[in-house]
């Protein structure tokens, strides 16, 4: 009997082993190695000098790092509000548009599929004062008073946030639409028979049933936006720290052979994101229980 159990365990483990091996090599090892590197002053090539928690102390004193977190937070605020409300509104619209739904789905999902670098460079060409494609369009359609330097110091952070929303709302749209389509139609029919109007149906059926999906979208938006980087790099290159985000700082430190510091920054950012994500899940659970 025992032999059989041991054999069974070995066989089961043999099936799991390849996945475990891959997970260990590509996830666990880099995670722990990053932590070890963060305790060293290393160029990432051959030198490793142990410095303890000096990098972490250094990061807390670094104004540029906190500024980048503020920038990331600002872009995230726009993504959470403008981007997700837009995605939710469009998902609600498409959910009802049975015949044309598929076409809209494709249209709204094209942007997230495109490379972030391409979107960044494309939007840069449109927004720059030279050649000034957007400004030329505005002039032609009689909105000349709106012409301005969209990537200038006054607007660059807001412009970056809106471009990020424009690129990112497709993901939220698809997830919310999928969530909406799981709500049984009979619930709405029963509510209609009971005399519930659209607002009541939305607040009493759609919103509570969609809450788990909404909280997932919020967490994904938070994680995705705080780690946004490639599009911003292509669009503004940081604009003298005005649009510098945490991952851009990590990237620059990696390029500057400050691997230990970059790893410490990565760990702090990861910790902040994990903390926010768990808080969000706890909040969503609380809302669900209340409702």
């Amino acid at each position: 009997m025992n032999d059989y159990r041991t054999k069974d365990k070995v066989i089961n483990f043999a099936f799991v082993f390849p996945a475990l091996l891959i997970f260990s090599i590509f996830y666990l090892y880099p995670f722990f190695y990053s932590f070890i590197l963060s305790l060293h002053r290393s160029d990432g090539i051959f030198t490793y000098d142990f410095v303890g928690l000096a990098h972490f102390r250094d990061i807390f004193q670094d104004k540029a790092w906190w500024r980048s977190l503020y920038n990331g937070g600002y872009i995230t605020f726009w993504a959470l509000t403008f981007q997700n409300i837009l995605a939710f509104s469009l998902a609600l619209g498409v959910d009802r548009a049975i015949k044309t739904g598929k076409i809209y789905r494709v249209i709204f999902f094209i942007l997230p599929v495109l490379s972030e670098i391409i979107i960044g460079l494309l939007m840069r060409t449109i927004l720059l004062s030279e050649p000034g494609i957007l400004n030329q369009w505005l002039d032609k359609i009689g909105f000349g008073f709106m012409i301005q330097d969209w990537l200038g110091k006054e607007h660059v952070l807001l412009t970056t946030s809106l471009v990020h929303c424009w690129k990112g709302f497709g993901w939220a749209f698809i997830i919310l639409l999928a969530g909406l389509q799981t709500i049984p139609e009979q619930l709405y029919e029963a509510a209609r028979i009971d005399g519930a109007n659209y607002i009541q149906r939305f607040s009493k059926i759609t919103l509570p049933l969609l809450m788990p999906v909404v909280s997932m979208v919020i967490v994904l938006t938070l994680l995705g936006t705080m780690q946004a980087f490639a599009m911003i790099l292509a669009l503004t290159r940081g604009s003298g720290r005005l649009t510098e985000v945490p991952v851009m700082i990590i990237y620059n430190h990696l390029r500057g052979n400050q691997v230990g510091l970059a790893c410490a920054e990565g760990i702090i950012l990861g910790f902040i994101l994990v903390l926010i994500s768990f808080s969000m899940f706890a909040f969503s659970k609380w809302v669900k229980e209340k409702s």
Partner: protein, 433 residues
């Protein structure tokens, strides 16, 4: 269970039999071949042409393997070094500190004995500044044994460049570029006011470009010694001469000559706009000759030395070895590889490279293949400066604050004094550490 073991047996047989038999064949003697890794996309054809000439001449195969863009190349070389798979010859991109890491890890051959053969004939053929980039002097700050660890194959220099046609249109003498900062500002303003064309454009979104210009002005104002003393921590960045250097960028911003979005512009973008006549002046490297040739073959332009901000010290030009090759310390083809490097840095081959790639040669008395626009630059090759030839380099955290501070001044976000104070604060923090 039996089925499972059956599957496993078949799996093992399929994968092990070819391995077993692959070792049984008769071994063919491999042809001797020198492998060279590089990142120079623009020089790919010229280098391969040279390799084929060398094969015809000596019968030895030289294979140039291109890995581009440079970021990818750098990672490739580092990974190869760590796994012990470096080729016979390779280049190291980045600061001298990176090169020193490779040397410390025993990956780079000291070429001094080869350079010193025949009364140092190979060593003396190079421009000293080109070789200096690959040389480690006695008691250097990197703790590397004295020696020459690389072979420069070309030179790059960073200078101001102006569009002669725009000068003519604005009523300025196209053969008289500005010599002082005031003249430069006045010419650029005239062009902006009369033609509506940007006075100055540069890829200042890339920190190193704005840094190079600030360093040239700093050396002109305070001299190379005081500049080095700042890096050593003996002179603070809050020194009034540093504030004055940073003020030049504020003056440029206030005069309205800077192109819009200059601090988010990459060099490729600025090269494109300059070649399309969208700006009168730019600050760029000698490699731009090749770029402008491809973008606008008829562009009428000329390089000129830094418009000086003082008469205190002579102008130094940012430049040195453009691209260098290092020899793998444990290469089996060491002597053949050295012979090839000697051949590629001899007169005919350097002329060929200059002609084909529009780059400055790394050896002296070799200007046959140079385009006219580069011939003027040859005169300044005795007054070059570059981080890789300084005895000490600035900490990268300080450099980061330096470059972004300059960007913030040109965006009108901070004053020169504020930026200098911030840099000094970071300098003190990293020095204490």
């Amino acid at each position: 269970m039996k089925r499972l073991f059956g599957f496993l047996s078949i799996f093992i047989i399929i994968f092990t039999i070819p391995l077993v038999f692959s070792g049984c064949g008769s071994k063919k003697p491999k042809d001797k071949k020198i492998i060279i890794w590089h990142w120079m996309n623009d020089r790919k054809d010229a280098l391969e042409n040279l390799a084929s000439q060398y094969k015809n001449l000596t019968g030895l195969t030289v294979e140039f393997k291109l890995f581009s863009p440079p970021d990818i190349y750098s990672q490739k070389v580092i990974a190869a070094a760590r796994s012990g798979n470096l080729p016979d010859i390779f280049g190291i991109l980045g600061e001298k500190k990176t090169m020193s890491s490779f040397i410390k890890a025993n990956h780079v051959l000291d070429l001094t004995p080869y350079m010193e053969e025949n009364d140092k004939s190979w060593e003396n053929s190079f421009y000293p500044q080109a070789l200096e980039v690959n040389r480690f002097r006695k008691n250097n700050s990197y703790a590397i044994e004295e020696g020459i660890y690389g072979v420069p194959i070309d030179l790059t220099v960073m200078e101001f460049v102006y569009n002669k046609d725009i000068f003519t249109k604005a009523g300025l003498d196209p053969e008289s570029p500005p010599e002082t900062f005031e003249e430069f500002l006045s010419y650029a303003k005239t062009i902006k006011e009369t033609l509506g064309i940007n006075g100055f454009i540069c890829g200042w979104g890339e920190g190193w470009l704005i840094n190079a210009l600030a360093v040239e002005w700093a050396i002109n104002l305070m001299g190379e010694d005081k500049f080095i003393q700042t890096i050593e921590g003996k002179v603070p960045y809050t020194d009034k001469q540093w504030v004055e250097v940073f003020s030049m960028f504020l003056k440029m911003e206030h005069s309205g000559i800077l192109a819009d979005n200059i601090t988010s512009m990459i060099n490729k973008e600025s090269e494109d706009l300059f070649s399309r006549g969208k700006a009168a002046f730019s600050f760029n490297g000698s490699w731009a000759v090749n770029v402008y040739k491809q973008l606008a073959p008829d562009l009428n332009y000329k390089f000129f030395p830094l418009p000086k901000i003082s008469d205190n010290y002579p102008v130094k030009i940012w430049g040195g070895a453009g691209s260098s090759f290092m020899l793998h310390k444990f290469s089996k083809n060491k002597n053949d590889a050295v012979d090839f490097l000697k051949w590629i840095t001899s007169n005919n081959q350097q002329n060929f490279l200059s002609k084909e790639t529009n780059n400055l040669p790394s050896i002296k008395n070799c200007q046959e293949g140079l385009p006219e626009v580069l011939i003027d630059i040859v005169d300044v090759l005795d007054s070059l400066t570059h981080p890789n030839i300084w005895p000490i380099n600035e900490n990268s955290r300080v450099l980061e604050a330096f470059n972004s501070g300059l960007q913030q001044i040109t965006m009108g976000l901070k004053t020169p004094a504020e930026v200098c104070a911030e840099i000094q604060k970071i300098k003190e923090r990293v020095s204490t550490k």
